[in-house]
């Protein structure tokens, strides 16, 4: 299939590129070997700077703009903290996209990994909501514009659109509730993000969640320098009697707004819906040979737990057994999680766990056989 061949080539290119990056960063600090930990690093930066900003921020229509400006101008390190919060958000989106591309290009998103891919999509949607509501909190002209455009676009969605729009506006009116809701969504969904992440890690043993110190400092510098050099400032304050006409766009979070202004809202929603549907369908586009998960031999398993410890996908757990005079535990494989990678086979010294499509005893027999072939055989 064309699609698969293209992906195969792209995989080789990606791995060659990563290999080349090793020359720059060395293997220990290669950011691509921590691609999942990168957004995580920025997420914690966002949590910490967010809590710091929260100390001075006042989520009301009257004082939001003033308090944000107060943070920028009067609070020590306020401008830097605000800058870090903004640029970390952008960096998180960039690294999330890199992370998604990387797992896609190296074929690590489907089969037993589909749930991780799905929760990733959920987390991405959360990120957009957090990002957009975050831009409302500043309450400058752009914020006002976002609220108006979002509310009118939401109203276009049949059935659920009306109530959804009421989340932000009362009829057509921006009220104090608008700011409260934006603030609640911004903070509330940030914490929901942690729940999503737990789900994201659920089928992964020992997820790599942290970058090494050296890389962390480098990443921090990558947001600290912009925060110092190009401080984040608000636009003109929002005036409810004047409807602004244009605003600067953050292309990582606010890209839907130029779409809303250039085409009917329903078209935009349809496009977003199709993109989501494609992302949801992606893991199932390629068909594989039928699943043949690892199997445990009841006679041979001694309950040593080595396979359960080595399994990289939390697919093996130990259960107590009573059928054996000596051995008290038995390894059990969760078929749906099994990657058929054979790491458990490598961990087993008792011929107790094996892949049906590649039996370890057959491999050992094969090694004996082909070693006996004289040179030149098999031509």
């Amino acid at each position: 299939m064309m699609y698969q061949q293209t992906l195969q080539k792209l995989q080789t290119v990606t791995i060659a590129f990563e290999k080349w990056l090793n020359k720059v960063f060395s293997q220990q600090y290669n950011p691509f070997y921590y691609h999942g930990a990168l957004p995580n690093f920025f997420m914690w930066t966002l949590f910490i700077t967010g809590i710091l900003l929260f100390v001075y921020f006042q989520p009301t229509l009257d004082s939001a703009f003033i308090s944000v400006n107060y943070i920028s101008t009067k609070v020590p390190f306020g401008s830097i903290t605000r800058g870090l919060h903004r640029y970390a958000a952008d960096a998180m989106m960039i690294t999330v996209i890199l992370h998604a591309l990387r797992v896609y290009l190296t074929d690590r998103y489907r089969k037993y990994r589909w749930l991780v891919w799905y929760t990733g999509i959920l987390l991405l949607i959360f990120m957009f909501v957090i990002g957009i509501t975050g831009y409302i909190l500043v309450w400058d002209e752009r914020s006002y514009m976002i609220v108006l455009m979002l509310a009118s676009a939401l109203k276009q969605i049949p059935l659920i659109g009306g109530p959804l729009a009421l989340t932000f506006v009362n009829g057509d009116l921006v009220t104090s509730y608008t700011m409260a809701m934006a603030f609640f969504l911004h903070v509330g969904i940030s914490f929901l993000l942690l729940y999503g992440l737990w789900w994201h890690y659920l089928r992964i043993s020992r997820p790599v969640t942290d970058v090494p110190l050296g890389l962390g400092l480098l990443l921090f510098a990558s947001i600290l320098i912009p925060a110092g050099v190009i401080p984040v400032i608000s636009g003109k304050p929002a005036v409810l009697t004047q409807t602004p006409t244009e605003f600067p766009v953050d292309w990582f979070y606010l890209w839907i707004f130029p779409m809303f202004s250039s085409m009917p809202a329903m078209v935009v929603w349809t496009i977003l819906f199709i993109i989501t549907a494609i992302l949801l369908a992606v893991p199932f586009l390629i068909t594989d040979r039928p699943k043949s998960p690892a199997t445990v031999s009841l006679e041979n398993c001694v309950g040593c737990t080595l396979c359960a410890k080595d399994c990289p996908y939390e697919a093996i757990y130990m259960v107590p057994r009573t059928d054996h005079p000596k051995y008290k535990q038995l390894a059990v494989v969760i078929d749906a999680r099994c990657a058929e990678c054979g790491l458990c086979v490598g961990a087993c010294a008792f011929k107790a766990i094996d892949l049906p499509y590649m039996n370890s005893q057959e491999v050992i027999a094969k090694i004996g056989d082909i070693m006996k072939e004289p040179v030149g055989a098999g031509v």
Binding site: Q11, T12, I15, A16, E18, K19, N22, Q27, Q28, N30, F32, Y33, T106, D107, R108, I204, S205, R206, L306, D310, P312, Y313, A339, E340, C341, G342, L343, V345, G346, A347, C348, A349, L355, M358, S360, V363, I364, K366, I367, G368, I370, M371, K372, E373, V375, G376, A377, G378, V379
Partner: protein, 142 residues
Amino acid sequence: MTEKKKILGIVCERSVNLNKHLLGNRLKDKNNVIVVSMPCSGMIQPAMLEAGFKAGAEGVFVMGCQIGDCHFREGNKWCQDRLLGLRPPNIKKTVDKNRVRGLWLSQVDYKKFLEKVEKFEKELEKLPKEQTEKPTSPAAKV
């Protein structure tokens, strides 16, 4: 002509792509190297290395992907740890560890792979022949 030393390679199918370079189970460029491929280097059991030596291999190398990158997340790490004796199950003490190598290379590293195998072969030649020349090893001098 002296016969070349038989070397067994147990390799991960996702590391160096050998599809084009194999004739049967042997490397086209070095026909004393016999290759068995695995879904992941993490699946390699110490018993497989032992089987190789038992069947007459002078040396056995294990090949997995670049450390830091494994399709199955941790396979090459576990395999490397096993070669180093840091992770059970261990390789039997009767196996001469000088005759075992771990290579950690990505799909596109065929050239490096050949170099490393050649180096391994040369190092094997320097080793005393098994059993016959035992006293030359430093441990025996004590």
